[in-house]
Symmetry: C2
Subunit: 211 residues, 2 copies
C-alpha cells in the first residue's frame, strides 16, 4: 500500500517510520519552512549524510511523511471499515478508527497531511487524489445510509467534510494524559458525529404496543 | 476591541485591513515562511518601505492578521450571540455567524489563526488567551444548554472542540461559486452541529394526546 520504496524493507522501514514521526513532531511545532534538515538529523541521531540515505531532501521528506500518514489511514481506517456490511456500522468504524489513529500516535502526522503548500506540484496532485478518495469513501457511506432511510436530512458533501473536520481537529486539542483517556475521546467523537447524522432505525411495534 | 493601534484610525484601518486580507491569501497559499515581504508589498501595490509604515516585519504582520481575525470573531460572532438569552438560540447564533464569517471573506484569515508557530512567545500567549476565551464561551453555552436539560449526553469539552473543528474546517473546503451557496452551507452546518447536540424540548402533551 505504501508509495515510498524504502518502506518495503522491514528494518529500514522501521527506521524510516521513526524518522517520519520525529520529523513530523518538529515540523508541527516549528513549521515546515523553519525546520532544518540538521534539526531532524539531530532528533533521530543521524548525520545529515545519514539522513539523506532515507530522504532526498526536505520536500521529499514532507511528501514521505504525508504518504505514510495516508498509508496509516488506508490500513487502519479504510480497510477495516470496508469489511462492515451495514452503512451505520461502516460509518461508526470510520469515525472510531480515525479518531483512535489520531489519539494513539498520529497527531503530528495528521496535522502535516494538510501542509500541501510545501509539496511540489506533482506530489501535491498525488496527495490530493488520495485525500479525495478518502473523502469519497466517507460520502459514499453517508449515501448508503441515506438509501436505507437512516440518514438525517443533511447534504452528504457538507456532512462528510464536517465529520472530517471534527475528527481531524482532535489532533489539535487532544493531549495524552488529560482528563479524558484516548478511548473516552474516541467514544465521545463517535457519539457526537453519529448522533447528528444517523436517524433511528424504524422501530418494529412491540407486542406491548400492539396490545 | 482591536489590539493593533493602526486600526483605530478609519482610512488607515481600511488600508491595513486590505493588506491583512491580501497577505493572508498569499501566506495561506505559500505558507508563512515561504512568503516574502516583497510579495506582500507587490500584492497591495506598495513599496517595501510603504508596507513597513503599516507593519514592523513579518512576525508583526502575522500577529496583526491573527488579531484582526479575532477582532472579526468577537465583533460578528461573540457580540451578537451574547444578546441571545436562550442557550439554544445562543448556540445557533454562534455556529451560524461563525460559519457565515468564514464563507463570506474570512477564509484565509481563519486558516492563519492556527499559524501560532510563526509568532513570538509573547504574541502566541496573547493569541492563545483570546482563542481560549472563545472556546470557553462556546463550552459555557453548552453547559447552559445542559442545565436546561436540552443538551444530549455529551462531554461539553469534546463537543465544543468538535463544533469548532466542523466550523473552522469550512475554511478548508468551501469555495464560493460552488454547488451550494454560502447561506446553504451555513444552514447545513447549523443543522448538522445542532442536530447532534440539542435535545428536543420536552413536549407539552397536546389536547389530542391527552384525549
Amino acid at each position: 500500500m505504501t508509495k515510498t520504496g524504502v518502506l518495503n524493507d522491514a528494518p529500514e522501514a522501521n527506521r524510516a517510520v521513526e524518522i517520519f514521526r520525529a520529523a513530523a513532531e518538529i515540523i508541527h511545532v516549528k513549521g515546515f519552512h523553519a525546520t532544518s534538515i540538521s534539526e531532524i538529523a539531530d532528533a533521530v541521531r543521524l548525520t545529515k549524510a545519514g539522513l539523506y540515505y532515507y530522504i532526498k531532501g526536505k520536500e521529499d521528506l514532507l511528501y514521505a511523511i504525508m504518504s505514510y500518514g495516508m498509508d496509516l489511514l488506508e490500513r487502519h481506517v479504510v480497510a477495516p471499515a470496508r469489511l462492515e456490511a451495514k452503512p451505520e456500522d461502516r460509518l461508526r468504524s470510520i469515525v472510531a478508527s480515525h479518531a483512535r489513529l489520531i489519539t494513539n500516535d498520529g497527531r503530528a502526522i495528521t496535522i502535516l497531511v494538510n501542509e500541501l503548500a510545501g509539496l511540489t506540484e506533482e506530489h501535491r496532485r498525488q496527495m490530493m487524489t488520495r485525500q479525495r478518495s478518502y473523502f469519497e469513501f466517507i460520502r459514499d457511506t453517508l449515501e448508503a445510509l441515506r438509501s436505507k432511510g437512516r440518514l438525517n436530512e443533511v447534504d452528504t458533501t457538507v456532512a462528510a467534510f464536517s465529520l472530517l473536520g471534527t475528527v481531524l481537529w482532535v489532533s489539535r486539542w487532544y493531549r495524552p494524559g488529560g482528563r479524558l483517556s484516548a478511548e473516552q475521546v474516541v467514544e465521545e467523537i463517535v457519539r457526537l458525529t453519529l448522533g447528528g447524522l444517523v436517524a433511528p432505525a424504524p422501530t418494529e411495534a412491540t407486542d406491548e404496543e400492539r396490545a
